[in-house]
Symmetry: C2
Subunit: 142 residues, 2 copies
């Protein structure tokens, strides 16, 4: 998706960012790419329009966009592997801010309903669900 410079300027203005060309192109690349892409993929897309762009600029702007609410982070996990020795069916409550994980028990999810919506062939026989929110501490520190 392309925006006029004025449109992007207004958008950037709302969240207190300067409307630079690089920033606009990064933003457009994310919106245009339906799906959920990694920084490297976005960098590759942006490079077609601005060959001189730096990968750091992509990271920088993605972080700013997420901070200012223009984009949301998918799977806002910690940057490190986590393992769970509890193999009984249970789900996780994850803090989007500090990445802490707590177990939750119970049947909250209507899997029959989900089954009708998911793509053909997707295997949900052992579903794991993660619910993201803000833990008490992070909510207080806002």
């Amino acid at each position: 998706m392309r925006l006029t410079h004025q449109q992007f300027r207004d958008l950037a203005w709302k969240c207190g960012l300067a409307a630079t060309h690089q920033r606009q192109v990064v933003y457009e690349a994310v919106i245009a790419s339906h799906g959920h892409h990694s920084p490297e993929q976005i960098y590759a897309a942006v490079k077609k329009r601005i060959p001189s762009i730096s990968l750091a600029t992509v990271y920088n702007n993605l972080r700013l966009f997420v901070e200012r609410g223009l984009l949301r982070e998918v799977s806002p996990h910690s940057s490190t592997l986590r393992v769970d020795g509890n193999l009984k069916p249970h789900h996780h409550l994850v803090c989007s801010r500090c990445k802490s994980v707590q177990d939750i028990e119970g049947d909250f999810f209507d899997f029959k309903h989900i089954s009708r919506q998911i793509p053909e062939g997707f295997d949900l026989s052992q579903p794991v669900v993660e619910v993201f929110g803000l833990c008490r501490r992070c909510r207080a520190n806002r």
Copy 2:
């Protein structure tokens, strides 16, 4: 939690792994540590019992345990940042194997029910839910 060597041997045998001392201590450390710990934390715990252990051994065994189904991976996305430009409420269907993400629509989740179960103070006003399973391609390639 401690296991007898025989108990661990049986467990390891079931998934085709040799029952080494290091392996047993890593496994016990994960199970004993309720919660969802990082490789570094597990390494620190194991080091108290086997000071000479290598971090690589911890990583190696965690990966094997996950592969063989003895442990499960929490938030199986940790390797790279993903962003989403779709700010409308929606949820994600994630492949545990290849990490691909697809959007799903609909109200599958009984948030009133969840609200009763979650810890005091946890903010679920803008919940994001991710459902993990196996996509068609990864299921076929099993």
